[in-house]
Amino acid sequence: MSLPILDGGKDWPQVLLARATEGKLPDIEAAEAKGAWEAFRKATGELSPEVVLHTIAESGLRGRGGAGYPTGAKWRDCVTQPDPVHYVVANGFEADPGAQVDRTLMELDPQAVVEGTAIAAWVVGAEQAIIAVSSSAPVAAERLRVAVEEAEARGYVGGDADWRSLRIEVREVTGSFVVGEETVLLRALEGQRAQPDQRPPHPSRSGLWGKPTVVNNVKTLAAVPWIVAHGAGAYTSLGSAETPGTTLVQLGGVVRKPGVVEVPLGTTVRQILDGPGGSVQGSLKAVLVGGPTGGFLPPDGLDTPLTYEDLGQAGAVAGSGTLLALDESACLVEVATLMTRYLNDNACGKTIPCRIGTRRLAELGAGFCSGHVRPRDAELLSELAADVHDAALCGLEKDAANPLLSVMRYFAPEFEAHSVRGECPAGVCQPLSLAGAASS
């Protein structure tokens, strides 16, 4: 059940998937011949943690898990905490059931993830690091374990002397969609109930077991060795000026070539769909950016660059990094409603606006699908969506209304067709037609 790696073309740099090879995984010697662990040797041998931290901050690397928090600032915040015990957690729990971006990276280049984790732990002075993997990705977990064992055999980690005493543990975590959120993941790793915590304090001040913890997505950590090896300047030259670097994107839906591809940030959605995606079959109706909490972009909005700010303004999120192309056979009201319902089913129940609000949002959406619409429902939906967003404790809740809101924003005629004319443009729902009943 793996998707192919797509070729981004000559212009697109390869940072995360530079060493990725499909098929049999090379052992550590072959990986080292291609440059694995070079950055770790360089950092620990020639540089100081402060210099590496400065390099990461200079490179403009930002969290690839979706929120886009500057990695250097996060690490610095953790380093400056007086508590001597620090932790590093690599978040490889890919919560989106339709994405395998992180899984692909962990399976094809586990050394990069382990090396990035080791460098992060060395910089922030952590003696223990955990790579959290979903239990639905056993292959990735196994390959990471092998990579950690090989690194231990080489003496990079797990030794007795000083900074080489870092223990890296690969932990398989089972849970619902919400476990992908950083504070929820920390609770799950502690063996507590999977619910988020109030922030601040951020995990970089009070995280795992209340200790300063760096929680980074595996994509972020896998970019760290490349930055250390090639320098911050080389990384800032990639991608757009404001958000440098690359990220992994998964293409799906009605694109001709579904798969995973590494794209420089700032590339427009259209370039990704037309380039590695091999254009769209049929007529494109919308593109869903960011998985279950993402937003739908209309065909006019395809020139939105893939950066955190631009996507946010367009009503989408970087999220799980999936781009799903939809054609005319999809009813956006129905899909957005079902996505909201999915998020509601996965809500942990801690905040009431999320637990009940998303359910009411899904019910309002279902009302549109079945034609049971009251005149104020559209207004009610946007008001409730704003409340759910404002009361958010975690990222899931903050983005839970994105699907319905983006459909309302860009595809208002579709809502009207359901509620006023009682017809579904895609022919999927069978809304009750009040107008039709009155005339007949």
Partner: protein, 279 residues
């Protein structure tokens, strides 16, 4: 001199207020024995009124059902020309909550494992698990997972024993077990149907397939059909589905899925239950 500057005056005022309350008439009514007087023009009474001719004054406008904050009002009837049966209210919108409250009103037991009388289980293996977890509530998740490994599910007796031995609240253990989708309270079942709920499968009609399975298995996601034959669960396709939503039956992916197939599959699975076979 201002009166509010006199020391102690505030205390005297407060005491006076308290003493005055003692002599005020009591407003509380001992309800079933005594009844408060309600104005005949009061509009909020929960009774149906009849006019002089003895016919019901309610014209089933449903305004009360829509306004009721706890949705305890629901009605059915016929229209004014005696032609159609009407049942509207808010039931379509709040169908699920209504279903549950109807179940409670009906007097039949509502499935909730906390209130079930529990059957004793052999606690030997559980004691070993608890000892391995050092009886610490902090290790509860690992202990719950091990317990499920031994018993196949989490029996109420095991949870009770765990609560007694570790000192953790039963509610905390129960809450943790319900918050993780891989921990189950029902014994292992013969068959398991998993539907992917990712955005791509939703696009390919996964929502309708799941709704069909919900209907024909008589349970929601994470639950077991009433006859205890089939569990309905979720899976992750990782975006690899094409053509139709990704569905697994007993671990085998279906080549194609549709709501119609769901009905036949559900019926076949419920008819054919291998006894004592754990999924």
């Amino acid at each position: 001199m201002r009166t509010d500057r006199i020391p102690g005056l505030a205390i005297v005022k407060g005491m006076l207020f308290a003493v005055r309350q003692v002599f005020r008439p009591n407003l509380t009514v001992r309800y079933p024995e005594e009844l408060n007087e309600i104005s005949p023009r009061h509009r909020g009474r929960l009774i149906l009124l009849y006019d002089e001719a003895g016919t019901l004054k309610c014209e089933t406008c449903f305004q009360c059902a829509q306004a009721c904050p706890i949705e305890c009002i629901d009605m059915g009837g016929v229209d004014t020309r005696n032609r159609y049966h009407v049942h509207w209210g808010a039931s379509e919108q709040y169908a699920e909550r209504r279903e549950e409250s109807a179940l409670r009103r009906s007097g039949r037991p509502v499935p909730d494992r906390t209130f079930d009388p529990f059957e004793p289980v052999d606690l030997g293996p559980l004691d070993e698990i608890l000892a391995a977890g050092k009886y610490k509530p902090a290790n509860a998740l690992a202990m719950l997972e091990s317990a499920q490994g031994v018993y196949g599910h989490l029996p109420v007796a095991a949870l009770q024993h765990m609560a007694h031995q570790t000192g953790a609240d039963y509610a905390a253990l129960y809450g943790m077990a319900t918050s993780y989708p891989h921990l189950h309270f029902e014994p292992p079942v013969g068959h398991i149907v998993r539907v992917c709920r990712c955005t791509q499968c939703t696009l390919l009609g996964g929502g309708r397939v799941l709704a069909a399975f919900r209907e024909h298995l008589g349970t929601d996601v994470g639950g077991v059909s009433p006859d205890g034959a089939v569990r309905l669960d979720v899976t992750a396709c990782g975006g690899t589905s094409s053509g139709s939503a990704y569905v697994e039956v007993d671990g085998e992916p279906l080549p194609k899925s549709s709501p119609e197939d769901a009905a036949t599959i559900a019926a076949a699975l419920r008819a054919n239950v291998p006894q004592g076979e754990a999924a």
